[in-house]
Amino acid sequence: MSKSYYDPADLRKFGKITEWSEELGNKFFDYYGKVFEEGALTAREKSLIALAVAHTEHCPYCIDAYTKDGLQRGITKEEMMEAVHVGAAIKSGATLVMGVQMMNKVNKLEM
């Protein structure tokens, strides 16, 4: 048993989740594959969205996977970093917009 919670090599075992629940696992991977196909958005655009979400979700496996995916697609590091900033901006905005609730509460409670 690994002494670390995160082993990068575990990403290679992701497909094994189907072994303990084949139907649900397969449905997930079918859906996952379909989502990332070219559609109204290009596969390249979807890769950058996935990279941004990987960061906001703090998923180290997803960050590894979509950094590599971006490189394979010829996406530049500047484009990748801008995508991460989009995620960071939404995260910080989501925190700060709660400040309005704090302000509302203060305004209600204070004389």
């Binding site: 090599a9 596969a43 390249r44 490189l71 394979q72 697609r73 010829g74 530049t76």
Partner: protein
Amino acid sequence: MKKSLLARNNDLANTQRQIEILSNGIFKYELPTFANKIKETNQFPLHPNKLEILQLNLGYMCNQVCAHCHVDAGPDRKEIMTLETMNQCLEVIKKTGAHTLDLTGGAPEMNPNFRWFVEEASKVGVKDFIVRSNLTIIRANKKYYDLPEFFKKHNVHIVSSMPHWTRGKTDKQRGDGVFDKSIKALQMLNDVGYGMKDSSLTLDLVYNPSGAFLPGDQQALENDFKKALKEEFNIDFNKLFAITNLPISRFLDYLIASDNYEDYMFALVEAYNPLAVKNVMCTNTISVSWDGFLYDCDFNQMLNLKVNSTIKHISEYNEELLQNRDISINQHCYGCTAGAGSSCQGVVA
């Protein structure tokens, strides 16, 4: 400028050492052998199909020292095909059933008899006559400035490496200043008609990933390259070939030094595509080294894995006998069967 592995006395300049690393692995998880993998689909042993491409390596000398080079080419490499071997090759070109002649290196233009050989070979009338030009050679010295005109005169098909449409990525892989010189060379090739719409002069680009990752979709990359090179530099070209870096020579050295070797090998195995096996380039190519020996492919040449045949050298060439051989394979072959497959002509599946 960096030196070749050979000039640095690097362990990996020894092909036997490379094969040991490839065969035995140097990591904790077990990698299935390529032989067993192709046995799953009854494709072992691998046999040639019809010969289509005769690929000649005119020498390992090059004006560049690219970080990923599987040839370990560079200015310090002195291996050059002699006139005698070239004449032996010409005799074979006259009688081969192959429709494509493919000259590579190093920088093939640096062979002192390059122009004579191109003139002689073009007289034979092969259907597709390829020269793999690294582009910067066209700008390396005044004596090479007229190469685009020379290529045009002999209706040579140019295939050139370009790892990215940005300066940073290109120079990191191929050396400082390579991007700017390559752009200039591409514009010179366009000026004489190469890669232009309605022109019969073909200019294809080769994309190799600039790191420990596999190439993405060839068509999508071609679209991105075309858009960027046209918008930024008004450059046109025909096709883009996406080629996977094989884990040998300098790229193997890089993979090991950067602690990417294990992940890269598993990425190749995970992307293994049995459909790519039947069209893999060793099934339709004979590779000839600067000293006239015969190999299943350019990569086997660099690993010194000669053909499994009684015929080993261009001087004793016999196409019929060569067609009856088993192709030499090892773990590096996963590089040609990953995803859509990979060959000197791009994807194969």
